[in-house]
Subunit: 243 residues, 2 copies
């Protein structure tokens, strides 16, 4: 891991860009020296530059509440080499949706599973590198998008102690099976009136999780309209489980 830039945002947050091999990432920590902070991994759908404003807002809020936060670019996202198999599956998906055809399981599997297989080991390598820094401490949280990556991380990475996930559709059956093996506390967000999301499938995914502590927060406001009070609820969830 190599830090490539460092900037202080408003005195409270230190933002450092890094590369881990070929993978670009960002680490946000408290601007002033303080005790090692528990880390939250911020997932996103790929395209770090496009997602930056939203990720920065989440990270600043987490740092203000005593956490560190980090994110990395997804395989095939941003300036990383294209992921041909996934792009073909995405084109197939868009063709099916545009034609009003049912989306078969095969397309969903080809779209999601190769990405999960690549992304999860990258996240775990990122975790190895960041937990070696003196300003970062365990336990670790995972928050955010690509639901299948969050599910796999929650199922297989023992350093993840709590996860905040967005209940999404187009979840491969294999991921539903993995969800049953998840045992850590979960905080699941669902936009109730998101027309691009299949609500029944999202509820089925929530039901599948094996965790004894799992909470679903369903809100109105459409796909991108998660109410601002959910940011505070998310931080309280992580405070309960990472401190």
């Amino acid at each position: 891991m190599r830090f490539t830039s460092e900037s202080r945002l408003d005195d409270h947050v230190l933002e450092r860009e890094f590369t881990l091999g070929e993978i670009p990432g960002v680490l946000w920590t408290a601007g002033s020296a303080s005790a090692p902070a528990p880390l939250v991994l911020l997932g996103h759908p790929g395209g770090l530059r496009r997602m930056y404003p939203r990720l920065l807002a989440r990270a600043s809020h987490l740092v203000a509440d005593g956490f560190a936060a980090t994110t990395i670019e997804l395989p095939g996202g941003g300036d990383r080499p294209r992921f041909a198999a996934v792009e073909e599956a995405r084109a197939e998906l868009h063709r099916a949706l545009a034609a009003g055809e049912p989306v078969d399981d095969g397309i969903v599997d080809r779209l999601v599973l190769p990405l999960v297989d690549e992304a999860v080991p990258e996240w775990r390598a990122c975790l190895d590198a960041l937990l070696a820094l003196p300003e970062i401490d365990g336990p670790v949280g995972y928050a955010g998008g690509v639901i299948a990556i969050g599910v796999r991380m929650a199922a297989v990475e023992p350093r993840i102690a709590a996860a905040l996930l967005f209940a999404g559709s187009y979840v491969p059956r294999a991921v539903l099976d993995e969800a049953r093996r998840v045992a850590i506390p979960l905080h699941v967000l669902l936009q109730w009136d998101d027309e691009g999301n299949d609500r029944q499938m999202a509820l089925q995914l929530f039901d599948a999780f094996g965790s004894q502590e799992k909470t679903l927060h369903a809100n109105m406001g459409g796909h991108t309209g998660v109410p601002s009070f959910e940011g505070e609820a998310a931080n309280r969830f992580f405070a309960r489980h990472l401190r």
Copy 2:
């Protein structure tokens, strides 16, 4: 309204029992003089004495966060005169459940609707009396049980500015129709693994509410196992809307 007893609980909470005509009730306010506090009405399934420990816990928590809280006995509950029609319908319901028979809409209507028709005017009279006290201020919240009473209060009582409801089953169709007319912010709790509750019906009720701001919090823990962090979430919901 006549106050019949007054006791100071741990210096922070003043508990006063009252009667409003034949209806017994309890009012909890701050123990020391302070600015008028917004009021939260605590609904419950009837049997004030049996419910007292849980109601006191909710009320103390609300008073600690700057609210006043009150509750009244339901028609037919506790020492109030029996409500013959409702008790017949309840016996029918228990017979049907014990025999494994489907519960028909008629039983549910006869169980719930007469109670709502009696209880809602009583709550509104209680509101008239309490809002005349100098230590109580509007706007008002409704929190808690008998879902059909909460829905009717949210739909018809303009002084109710926000409501916390438990998504329950055995909701008459007429109540689903009333839910569509509710426009105030709602915070809805659902115990996901409550075997005595029909989850699909609870989700259908949440879906029916007309409110632009409505949030569903679903948790594990069985019928009575609402996690303690939901108490804090409830107070934050009322703080957003009653202050």
